[in-house]
């Protein structure tokens, strides 16, 4: 039964229809409550108030600032300051304590590792990897093989002043380019590479180890030591540890002897505050390779 054409009332429900018809069907008119409309107006008024109170409209060169002067950067500064206040007591303790004191105090150690972890992720992870696992040319910080020393103070010194960095106290030492600069001939380089491999028990087919040993004693032992155990004063790696910064293939070792090596690490002293560097040192130390 169709709605009454005069009253527009649907006979089944007693409700008026909207009068619109689609394929013989009419929609019942169940109007929204009027307060719903008021709420809609209220949101419009709210929006206008919001435009006035907060930054909202793009202008030609700038944007409308809002009467409260609210700015997302200020909000972050406020948050950071409240964070600093919260961390204040522990941060002060961290700043005052020596590295060995930090490691001896479980609470301070946990805190330093937490601070160090975020600082590491931000500053160190791009080269050394998220967990300090290292990569070719970037030392693995988890092992017990240290170029410049693995004691807490050594690590702090390296982070603060860097390696071959633009810093007065930076770690200095260089591997000369024996081949490129004409100090060694190609067969000598080949022999010394074989000799270094033999120290680690790696296969050295058709090698002239006698020549290699002689070349090593004459040229390399000055820095790497007569037993090839390295010298941390100069950052000369231990060549018998089985741990390689660039790789243990003969070609890579020959490349190192021919062209030298001289990777650098920035000095973080000017960029990070001393407390953060302290925390970083403790964090790196606690990767597992730290030396007593």
């Amino acid at each position: 039964m169709a709605p009454d054409p005069k009253t527009n009332i649907d006979p089944y429900t007693g409700t008026p229809t909207t009068g619109h018809e689609w394929d013989g069907l009419q929609e019942l008119n169940t109007p929204l409550p009027r307060w719903w409309l008021w709420l809609f107006y209220a949101t419009i008024i709210w929006a206008v108030g919001y435009w006035i109170a907060y930054p909202a409209w793009p202008l030609f060169a700038s944007y409308s600032q809002g009467v409260f002067g609210w700015h997302s950067r200020n909000a972050i500064v406020t948050d950071l300051n409240s964070l600093k206040t919260q961390r204040g007591p522990l941060m002060d303790k961290l700043a005052a304590a020596s590295l060995t004191e930090i490691v001896a105090d479980p609470q301070l150690l946990d805190f330093a590792r937490a601070v160090g972890k975020s600082a590491f992720a931000e500053n160190c992870a791009p080269c050394h990897g998220a967990g300090g696992g290292g990569a070719k040319g970037y030392p693995n910080l988890n092992d017990d093989n240290w170029l410049w020393g693995g004691k807490l103070a050594d690590i702090q010194q390296t982070i603060t002043h860097g390696v071959r960095a633009d810093d007065d106290k930076t770690r200095m030492g260089s591997m000369p380019a024996f081949g490129r600069d004409g100090m060694l001939k190609r067969d000598e380089i080949s022999a010394v590479a074989d000799y270094v491999r033999s120290l680690n028990g790696l296969p050295t087919p058709n090698a002239n180890l006698t020549l290699g040993q002689k070349v090593f004693a004459d040229n390399c032992a000055v820095c790497h030591g007569p037993a090839a155990k390295g010298n941390r004063e100069l950052g000369a790696p231990n060549l018998t540890s089985g741990i390689w910064l660039y790789g243990d293939s003969k070609a890579l070792i020959m490349e190192a002897v021919s062209n030298g090596r001289g990777a650098m690490m920035p000095a973080w002293g000017g960029r990070l505050d001393p407390t953060t560097i302290k925390a970083l040192s403790v964090y790196v130390y606690s990767f597992g390779g730290g030396e007593k």
Binding site: T7, G14, L109, D110, R113, G129, G242, F287
Partner: protein
Amino acid sequence: MYMDRNLASASPTPEPIDETPLYAAHRTLYPQSVKGTYRTIKWVVLVATLAIYYLLPFVRFDRGPNAPHQAVLIDLPGRRFYFFFIEIWPQEVYYLTGLLILAAVILFLMNAVAGRVWCGYLCPQTVWTDLFYAIERLVEGDRREHMLRDQAPWSIDKVSRKAIKHFLWLMVAWWTGGAWVLYFADAPTLVKDLATGQAPFIAYAWIGILTFTTYTLAGHMREQVCLYMCPWPRIQAALTDEHALNVTYRYDRGEPRGSVKKNAQLRAQGLPAGDCVDCLQCVNVCPTGVDIRDGASLGCIQCGLCIDACDAVMEKVGHPTRLIAYDTDLNVRRRLEHKPTSIHIVRARTLVYAAIIAIVGAIMLTTLATRASVGVNLMHDRNPMFVRLSDGAIRNAYTVRILNKQTDPRRFAFAVEGIAGATVDIVGIPTPPDGDLAIEVGPDQTREFRVLVTARQPPKEETSPITFTVVDRNTGEAARAFDHFFAP
């Protein structure tokens, strides 16, 4: 058909199509006070639920020296939920899932048994609106008096009554907001802090928000919440069936309705006459303003107040009571067809709901009863997966977290098994000379540390299973975690 009677109540004035109202104007309701069985039940439920809500935060429960003494406490900063003897940690939020499932299925069961019994008696919107109506009647008088005064011109009496009513409403609303925040902190301390202005801003803000919502929803929105805002009436309509007991106008008995006199005349002439005397008492007492005689509807919250109102009238005019009663439309139709009526509370639907409730409840109780008070979580280092040391040994590093869910500090023995001859070092916890590691974890706390497992003779396999065991030194309660040891 029965539905056609709606035509009688529809507006007879023809309206041009273009002037159909786009928005419905609000109709102020003046529900009349009523006495009877269902009104008494509603009073009891109102007092009981509000007493629980307002007073529960003050109930104390002794959990020992290292835990709060509040029986029900949501400790947001400490990430703990306390409910009498139950304490829930954030990772046990599945209890909340279980509670929500239970709540939903119990609601469905209520619906299968007696329709919108939740809406009529237990819903906070109903309870607070009921309370606000009671205050309104107390100050502005019952239906007739209130309506007359509202129609009368403004007077000092009218203004002062309205002012008192809104003041009382705001007081109740304020107390409602005040009780809410007490669930989130030690109640007596917070009450003192609130009174002396020492409480955190967030506490005042929440009291303000809940004062506003209570005042608005229970004082002004009332039935509009049920009609326009609440999803349950819509869901309920889709979930219900013909056997659910609803507040039902028994039109088999009531129709044709008419005044006492008119129907008496009809009866005298041997014509059909119903018991409904069309006194509109059922409409007058309705808190949502529906006419139950139109059948179950979206607006009907099934509170049963119309039953009480109708019963009073039926007694007065000498008809049997329960012209309106908890019944089903199916039974009404059966009576019209002179068939026996029946009520099926126990049927497949209710049995399935009850079974789901029992199963979920049993699972939750079992997990609660067997809840371990110690746990160990384990995460293997990802970069690097393993480290080769200069002597050829292989080291794996793990981040281990021990959970102590008891309110006393505990000492745990810590052992790693699976890698022959491996040495275990914990960063920050020196291994004692006898090699017997013991880790102290504070009351109701977790402790995280870094564990280094070094194998002098590394396993030949690329990965070998490894087990970390944590054992309470005193009780022997143990927790285990499994991972792998990686080697080249």
